[in-house]
């Protein structure tokens, strides 16, 4: 068993969900690290897109911003938002998008806007950014969150980005281009979605955690299959590659053990 931090674990697990040749909306931070790791391992033809306008990016240093010049040299096109969010994403050309959130509900709907009531918000969060667009139109959505009970809620304080909304048929009702969330990766487990109800379902538990740990740490009912496997751990090679990608630990050092 290799020694690794939470961040390393999350990034490595997330990377396994990127398939070769896919068009990936990577953003920055963990998703970027996961996408780059996937490109360096099993998905060399993944096309990494940053919503600011970079297409097929291959940064030699990890970017801090979606608009970071580090995305520029070596990418194959550098355009703008209408291109990435309109012509590419809304047109259904993005296979997988990554999102984080402050709150998630049992259908994978996300809040990145306010904590507290809309009328008197306690905390103004960043807002949608491109999140609502990605959640509406990417074929598949990978959600990455730190696992705190207060984040897995029965009802969102504010509904920013669509998961499976109210379940089967909801996305079709709003003529959404994309398929919605396929997986939620936390630092304790992975969830997927029950195909029939489109409600969140336990997919695998990370080493060191039990099913009960997970159920105790969410505020809604989770579908639990008969057999819940243990999440596959990162390999040393994956960890080494991540450190080569982020030699200064800009992302890896954050929240690491």
């Amino acid at each position: 068993m290799v020694k690794c931090s939470k961040i390393e674990f999350l990034a490595a697990v997330a990377s396994t969900h990127v398939r070769d040749g896919e068009n990936v909306f990577g953003g920055t931070g963990l998703p970027l690290l996961a996408s780059l790791l996937a490109k360096e391992t099993h998905a060399p033809h993944a096309n990494l897109i940053s919503e600011a306008g970079f297409i097929d990016a291959r940064p030699r240093n990890v970017p801090l911003s979606v608009a970071d010049s580090r995305f520029y040299y070596g990418c194959s096109a550098s355009i703008g938002l209408i291109e990435t969010l309109g012509f590419i994403l809304q047109a259904g050309r993005v296979d997988v998008g990554f999102l984080g959130a402050a709150q998630i509900d049992e259908y994978g709907n996300l809040n990145t806007t306010y904590i507290g009531s809309f009328d008197k918000p306690k905390i103004k969060l960043p807002g949608s950014g491109g999140g609502n667009d990605i959640a509406s139109s990417a074929k598949r959505l990978i959600i990455i969150m730190t696992h705190e009970k207060r984040k897995f809620v029965k009802k969102l304080d504010y509904f920013t980005s669509p998961g499976h909304l109210e379940g089967p048929g909801s996305r079709k009702k709003w003529s959404m281009v994309g398929g919605g969330p396929s997986v939620v990766i936390t630092d304790k487990c992975q969830f997927d979605f029950d195909p029939k109800t489109l409600k969140i379902r336990l997919m695998s538990v990370h080493p060191g955690f039990t099913v009960k740990d997970i159920l105790d740490d969410v505020m809604f009912d989770v579908i639990v299959p008969d057999r819940v496997p243990t999440t596959k751990e990162p390999t040393q090679e994956q960890i080494d590659i991540m450190h080569r990608l982020d030699p200064n630990g800009i992302y890896l050092a954050k929240g690491g053990e």
């Binding site: 600011a52 911003s65 703008g80 969010l85 809309f118 950014g129 609502n132 667009d133």
Partner: protein, 304 residues
């Protein structure tokens, strides 16, 4: 074939800020850490503007400065934070205090609102926002925030977002000639549409280039002079963020900024030290220090 006289639209940063009246609506250029017109935000603060409404997809340090200093109170935006560092502390505080209001859209929605404004049509259709609280709630636009309709061609649901036509567009570019023809390197974000949607356009540029240079490769012009009201030329307009091919972001300064804004006291200290107590943009740059600024200069071929 013709050799006509050419207007010189250059004014100083102070003059440009003076043109913006209290209560004005502004498209705000730049995206993320790239080409943010932060020097203009600082100058608006020094001139004690009040009641501005800002339109942009996502901005960071500039919004923090303007909301923190009470210059801007309403925001038609999709995003604000200091990417990779954390929440926008000033915005968070001012919203909690009830001193700032955000009308929430997505990035695509805002970009299309700017395109609609540039095209002079009343709305643009998008496939985002539907099914969420961005349809349910409005901060100050009421039922003019957006409309979800049945498409008259296909019958499917489609969201119409109202075009934005603010009083001014403020954008930052790499190069401009004195008549206003502007060149942008790297990504354009939503600046092409944003530059064209405002009733007046102020272009801030790092470098002045000759009109003949523009006319020898006109397909490099991203914003033609005919849209431009005023031109401001100054270095390091985006500091502490970056300007592709000119300078990198100042991560040290960004971290200091984000840390100081965590408390109102810290923010007031930053406000005093880096904005109010410096007389103008050059004094700000002197205060930051030229040796430090020079260390941020972009290296070829990377552009940062």
């Amino acid at each position: 074939m013709t050799g006509t006289e050419i207007d010189d639209k250059r004014i100083t940063l102070e003059e440009a800020a003076r043109i913006v009246p209290d209560g004005a609506h502004l498209f705000w250029g730049g995206f993320g850490y790239q080409r943010a017109p932060i020097a203009f935000a600082r100058e608006l603060v020094r001139q004690k503007k009040r009641g501005l409404t800002i339109y942009t997809c996502g901005s960071e340090v500039d919004l923090e400065i303007m909301v923190g200093a009470g210059v801007a109170t309403r925001f038609d935006i999709a995003f604000t934070a200091i990417e990779a560092l954390g929440l926008a502390n000033n915005m968070r505080r001012r919203v909690a205090e009830g001193k700032a209001q955000v009308e929430d859209y997505s990035n695509l929605a805002m970009a299309m609102r700017f395109m609609g404004g540039a095209l002079n049509v009343p709305f643009m259709p998008i496939r985002s926002l539907m099914g969420t609280d961005m349809v349910q709630y409005s901060r100050y636009r009421g039922d003019k925030k957006l409309k979800v309709i049945d498409c008259p061609f296909t019958g499917e649901k489609i969201c119409l977002v109202p075009s934005a036509k603010p009083d001014f567009s403020i954008i930052h570019v790499q190069r401009v000639d004195k008549t206003g023809n502007a060149q942008i390197d790297g990504i354009v974000g939503e600046d092409l549409e944003g530059a064209r949607c405002g009733k007046k356009l102020i272009v801030l540029a790092e470098e002045l280039i000759d009109v003949d240079e523009v006319r020898s490769r006109p397909d490099q012009t991203k914003i033609p002079a005919m849209y431009v009201s005023h031109v401001v030329v100054a270095p390091f307009i985006a500091h502490p963020v970056q300007c592709h091919n000119y300078y990198d972001y100042d991560l040290e300064h960004l971290m200091m900024f984000h840390k100081m804004t965590k408390t109102e006291e810290g923010w007031q200290e930053y406000l005093k030290s880096f904005i109010l107590d410096v007389e103008n943009h050059y004094e700000y740059l002197n205060h930051v220090g030229w040796e430090h600024l020079m260390s941020l200069r972009a290296k070829k071929p990377w552009g940062y």
